[in-house]
Amino acid sequence: MTGSATDRLATSDGVGTSPRRPDGALKARGEFAYSSDLWHEDMIWGATLRSPHPHARIRRVDITEALKLPGVYAVLTHADVPGTNLYGLEHADQPVLAVDVVRYQGEPVALVAADHPETARRALARITVDYTELPPLTDAHAAVAGAGPDLHPGGNVVRHVPIRHGDVEAARARADVVVTGDYEVGMQDQAFLGPESGLAVPDGEGGVDLYIATQWLHVDRDQLALSLDLPPEKVRLTTSGVGGAFGGREDLSMQIHACMLALHTGRPVRVVYNREESFFGHVHRHPARMQYTHGATREGKLVFIHARIVLDGGAYASSSGAVVANAACFAVGPYVCPNARIDSYVVYTDNPPCGAMRGFGAVQTCFAYESQMDRLAEACGLDPVELRVRNAMVEGSRLPTGQAVEGPTPVAELLERLQAMALPDERVGADVIELPGGAGNTTHGEGVRRGVGYAVGFKNIGFSEGFDDYSTARVRLSIVAGEPQAEVHTAGAEVGQGLVTLQGQIARTELGVQRVVVVPADTAVGSAGSSSASRQTWMTGGAVMYACRAVRDRVVARATLRLGPGELALAGGEVRRTDGSGAIGLAELLGDEAVEETFEHHHRPTSPLDAVTGQGDAHLAYAYSAHRAVVDVDRELGLVRLVEIATVQDVGRALNPQAVEGQI
């Protein structure tokens, strides 16, 4: 069966439009329930005692005085963890509660449940922890070089990703121009506005329901089940309102703690971090040090790139293994370079744990390779944009991993369109407010120069390196109050990006039904994978589309019995013969029977990277963007004023243009 474009237009708010978010009015009214807003009869408050030291041995934890405080319901330590005390996204290396050593400042050591957050805070202050401080390992470069002590069994290198592409040594002789640079980027934090929080409710039968702000319900559920020593079906998760994520909610924070306290006390337990604790409660963007050498011909064509990248993973691995692979795979930038030698390392230190944050390893190296391209342009006497265009990847170009790039690869086009955009007006008799230093009145324009910089970057979409990345959708079509209604159920986490809107749009377009209800995401349906890696539109959107099509096929098959053979389309709440010779309304066709289908959408397989050469078809697809920054710089004082950022991005086909703009 097919549906013509005209038929699909009969339903509004479908794919390609920007309907209002279904949660928009609730959020604007202050009535949307975030994970920190939840309340339950008999609810008590959980709180976490954290290590003040980056590295220390724990001699003794004494909870006696804390337990004596009126209003305290429980004080728990690692001895109270019902299942395995170690969890983690890639390696189970992070303790639910510290046992005999702490590896970063802020590591959880003990938990309290009490009748009021202030009671809980006072109880935390009454727990005595006898620490022996140890010298912290804080230098990632030293850790790569073998500095100790080993923070985990197996040493401090979490992962080394080498990439060997062509022959760099032979290529050196052919390079007319060579530039080198050392680059460093610092730690960053997602700083989502809604702090880590959730409500754990014991079910009275040994299981627990957790209402939580997360990016991936099922991966939380699986880690929780192991640490709580419960079968997965006894740990049920439902997303509550998520106040932003940006990678910072991929790892567990208070999930196991809240469930432990709830199961121990038999009471619903709410845990809400404050802003300071939030910085201890989630991973950050990896700081990086990057040493680059670029060689090129006099005409600016890249001949070789040699890069050594060191990421500081902090105390626990989190998703460091995937981040370091991204840093390696995209270390050259979206350019063709026939010879590359890349060594990308991530190590354990006693610094705060690092993991996922928007860009996920591709951001750090972008700063280095684009700085190198500017240096190379200067050395070749070329315009920086022209140099980039001369080396730009096109469809079919090979990454240093040997993988051919498939699909539109508009690197040169992005740069050219960006360069064609009008520049902001030159400063003319400017107000001092518009100069670097602003109201500080540090200059009247003397010593101020305008700078214009371009950069282009790219990043993978979806999970890479052979991960079986999939999403599940259940779609049910039925007649409610005389009208056809589609119910869409996935576990896809709505973190602000608009997945909840998009699921409805896809169902409307695919089923030709106006009324769509997207039910709350929970673990009662199969995994949707993570709301990260820019993958949910593709993966959960795809799962919803295919589930809708399965429903549609059944509805059309049923209609064929009534309308006879021929081409039929589902649109405008009815099944029509496309030649216009007949139609049957869904209400009549379905009666009180629902049609329901569940679809699991897997993206095409990717491959691991070879452990020695780094070769492999590791990635699914890429997104490209180019930026232009215009800045005024006071060259004497070093003060900078940002005048304008302009950007051109390849967004593919915008399924919801307003939501796409919201991501840029």
């Binding site: 202050g30 009535e31 975030y34 807003d37 009021h116 202030e118 309102g241 106040g243 932003g244 940006f246």
Partner: protein, 155 residues
């Protein structure tokens, strides 16, 4: 202590309030009004902005006792029944709401701005909302929403 406060035109009483509690805590945990958000609880982000006797304040920086006998208006008190306030309407329509955690504070701050300055310049909008942080939008759609709301309020 017992706290008497008028919230969204209703007289409310909260018992057993600990003296260290903030107005934000009392609103959220004792009066069932979690619309004002607990994003930083140190007066930096503006997510808990409410009117106190008609003046916008960070509810996290007001001790509960300071609100005794006074009038508070929260984001929950802006809509007229089912009809959104024009500021709320504009935020939803313009795509200024993503995760939405900053939205209540921004809406109260914008509501206040437009009642003081019906036709604000972009500089005035930026100045007025400088105390409200958003991590999702990059602020462009928020500026759009404020301009749309201003046009709506003037019309």
């Amino acid at each position: 202590m017992r706290l008497n406060v008028t919230v969204n035109s209703e007289h409310r009483t909260a018992d057993d309030v600990w003296a260290g509690e903030s107005l934000l805590y009392v609103l959220r945990e004792r009066l069932g009004l979690p619309g004002s958000k607990n994003a930083c609880e140190q007066g930096e982000c503006g997510s808990c902005t409410v009117y106190l006797d008609g003046t916008p304040v960070c509810a996290c920086l007001v001790a509960a006792g300071q609100a005794e006998g006074r009038e508070v208006r929260t984001v929950e008190g802006l809509a007229d029944g089912d009809a959104l306030d024009p500021v709320q309407e504009a935020f939803v329509a313009a795509g200024a709401v993503q995760c939405g955690f900053c939205t209540p504070g921004l809406i109260v701050a914008t509501h206040d701005l437009l009642h003081r300055v019906p036709d604000p310049s972009d500089e005035e909008i930026r100045e007025s909302l400088a105390g409200n942080l958003c991590r999702c939008t990059g602020y462009e759609k928020i500026l759009d929403a404020v301009r749309q709301a201003a046009a709506q309020v003037r019309a």
